[in-house]
């Protein structure tokens, strides 16, 4: 009913400076769209319609273009998610050494199914995260959890509760 009434979002001064600096690195503003979407997600938690409008406005791009890009890449989320995103790999190398069992242990520990979130955690069944020699593995922000077994899950979750690794911290 109120679809046309939208909150206008803004970037922080820091994000604006980052975007302006990045625009200098390319012949047009369009290539900065991924970085701007990462920043918008960091500052606004997820990519709502208003966040996409903010990116479109900032880079002089059509909303449809930004929408198309944002919905192509799996790291962008259109719904709110948790502070930590646990990306648990189940691809071949991890599967062969028990990756699915670790994922199930995360599901049980967090009370979330793969693909679901609460305010603290998002649990993602991830494709290969390029740490196959230490399978099964998960990545949370800048931190890798390697050679995991289902019994390690409690420790991982407790560590992340006291020392969160939000993906936005690297943007």
């Amino acid at each position: 009913m109120f679809r046309n009434i939208s909150m206008s979002l803004e970037f922080s001064a820091d994000a604006q400076n980052k975007i302006a600096a990045l625009c200098e690195r390319y012949p047009t503003k369009q290539p900065v769209v991924l970085a701007a979407l990462h920043l918008a997600q960091k500052e606004h938690g997820h990519l709502s319609d208003d966040a996409l409008k903010l990116v479109a406005r900032t880079l002089d791009l059509p909303y449809a273009h930004v929408y198309g890009v944002a919905t192509f890449y799996t790291m962008f989320r259109r719904e709110p998610g948790g502070k930590n995103t646990i990306r648990m790999c189940t691809n071949i190398s991890c599967m062969l050494r028990g990756g699915y069992e670790v994922l199930e242990a995360f599901e049980k520990k967090l009370g979330l199914r793969r693909g679901q979130s609460n305010s603290e955690f998002s649990l993602v069944e991830e494709e290969c995260i390029a740490a196959c020699a230490n399978a099964p593995c998960a990545v949370v922000g800048t931190k890798y959890f390697l050679d995991l077994a289902p019994g390690d899950v409690d420790k991982v979750v407790e560590e992340l509760k006291s020392n969160p690794r939000p993906e936005g911290e690297v943007v």
Partner: protein, 450 residues
């Protein structure tokens, strides 16, 4: 002389925390090759790279010097792009390389950029590699501050090289070079139709060379020691060493820099401590899941690029029991060296389940642009899943072969082939495993399937 085991051209600084700073990197000989390169002409560097027989380490194994040679001589602006979008399942080398030795990548890129006369250059790093992005960005910032990037590098008037680290956001397809270029331009990561190839018309419509991380990291030692030296370390038409990432059912998985000529048997038994739990090899994926597997009788083949394509000890991939798969022009498909991701499957592996997981991956990662791939990978996953779950129907093997054959060669990029080839390869070499899975499908399961 072929490289002995232990030769380290690109992994020498692994474990050296200090190497991430310019000072630490210089202490172990860093940026010396760049000094030497800037005293040479760009053409002389190109000649050395051609003589080195350096081949692309990202998947296709294309000769790097030949690729560089495609850039038109009269190009107004050229770009060099490093593909650090490593996401081929089983491959975990570029992530380690960037993490331990970011300045070797930067040095390789500055030399390559000098040879190619490329000014504005980019590293496309996978979005999920957040730790590596931080390391790389810091190294790039320091390289600028110390005069290894920017204008008049090392006092060479007029030589300008810029490097921008560009983060992806989660899409396997962006490892395909034209999808990567689209993603760099701020578009959805969908591959472009070729030709024109990027070396003619790539980023921002300019001639562009896209090279893998490991490929570019080999450039400094080629300049330092010479192309002929590098070539001699290798085997046949493949110069240098090779990084192999071994995962799956071995005692000691890891990322190893090894001689080109090492066989899979040596790799598994001598380097990785054998198959785990005292078991035997069932199958080996030789270069990322896109490549057809080897069976236990095919392990004496070397990991070298040409050997994996042509060695007659590797059985060719079939479409059906009596029908060879045709790569075009009657060429047979054996397998390929791919990305160096070696996955070992022991003799207790549930092959239909492993194949289902591979197909699930491709169905998830298809960009949706070409119908045979978008629909076909989904169908393959669906049929492979029911076979793996004991709900398979008679005829499912022929159906999977037929779908794969319908995808292969009929799409803009190689992702379609990358799904079709391993499916056909597993069906060729492990048919009995699939047949057993279908045979053992229970009546209750059959009802469910119907």
């Amino acid at each position: 002389v072929p490289a002995p085991i232990g030769t380290k051209l690109v992994t020498a600084r692994f474990g050296d925390e200090a190497a991430r700073t310019v000072a630490g990197y210089q202490k172990t000989g860093g940026y010396k090759a760049l000094e030497k390169a800037l005293a040479m002409t760009p053409a002389a560097i190109l000649d050395e790279v051609k003589a080195s027989n350096l081949r692309g380490r990202g998947g296709a194994g294309f000769a790097t010097g030949v690729k560089w040679g495609f850039v038109p001589k009269d190009a107004r602006e050229v770009h060099l792009v490093c593909n650090c979008d490593e996401s081929e399942p089983g491959t975990c080398k570029d992530r380690e390389l960037v993490y331990w030795d970011p300045h070797l990548l930067i040095e390789g890129m500055v030399i390559a950029a000098y040879a190619l006369k490329a000014v504005h250059n980019y590293i496309y790093i996978r979005g999920e590699m957040m730790r590596e992005y931080v390391v790389l960005q810091k190294a790039v910032d320091e390289a600028y501050a110390k005069g290894y990037l920017g204008k008049d590098i090392l006092g060479k008037a007029g030589f300008e090289c810029h490097l921008t680290v560009h983060r992806g956001a989660g899409a396997y397809i962006c490892g395909e070079e034209t999808a990567l270029l689209n993603s760099l331009e701020g578009l959805r990561g969908q591959p472009r139709l070729k030709p024109p190839f990027p070396a003619i018309k790539g980023l921002f419509n300019n001639p562009t060379i896209v090279n893998n991380v490991e490929t570019l990291m080999n450039v400094p030692c080629i300049v330092d020691k010479g192309g002929a030296w590098f070539n001699e370390l290798g085997m046949g038409r493949s110069g240098g060493t090779r990084i192999l990432c071994v995962s799956g059912h071995v005692e000691k998985p890891g990322v190893f820099e090894l001689p080109m000529g090492i066989t899979f048997r040596q790799l598994i038994d001598d380097v990785c401590g054998g198959v785990w739990k005292g078991r035997k090899v069932k199958a080996v994926i030789p270069g990322g899941v896109s490549m057809p597997p080897l069976d236990a009788d095919e392990l004496d083949v070397p990991c070298e690029f040409d050997a994996l394509q042509t060695d007659e000890r590797i059985k060719p991939v079939m479409v059906g029991p009596d029908r060879l798969f045709d790569l075009g022009g009657g060429r047979q498909l054996r397998t390929m060296a791919g990305s160096g991701g070696v996955v070992v499957l022991d003799d207790q592996t549930d092959i239909p389940k492993a194949v289902w997981r591979i197909m699930k991956f491709f169905a998830h990662e298809s960009c949706g642009q070409c119908t045979p791939c978008r629909e076909g990978t989904g169908w393959l996953e669906k049929v492979a899943r029911r076979v793996a779950e004991g709900r398979g129907k008679p005829g499912d093997l022929d159906l999977m072969a037929s779908i794969s054959h319908g995808i292969a060669g009929n799409t803009i990029c190689a992702l379609g082939d990358a799904a079709a080839w391993p499916m056909l390869g597993f069906l060729t070499k492990f048919r009995a495993d699939f047949e057993a899975a279908i045979k053992s499908s229970g009546p209750a399961n059959k009802e469910q399937a119907a």
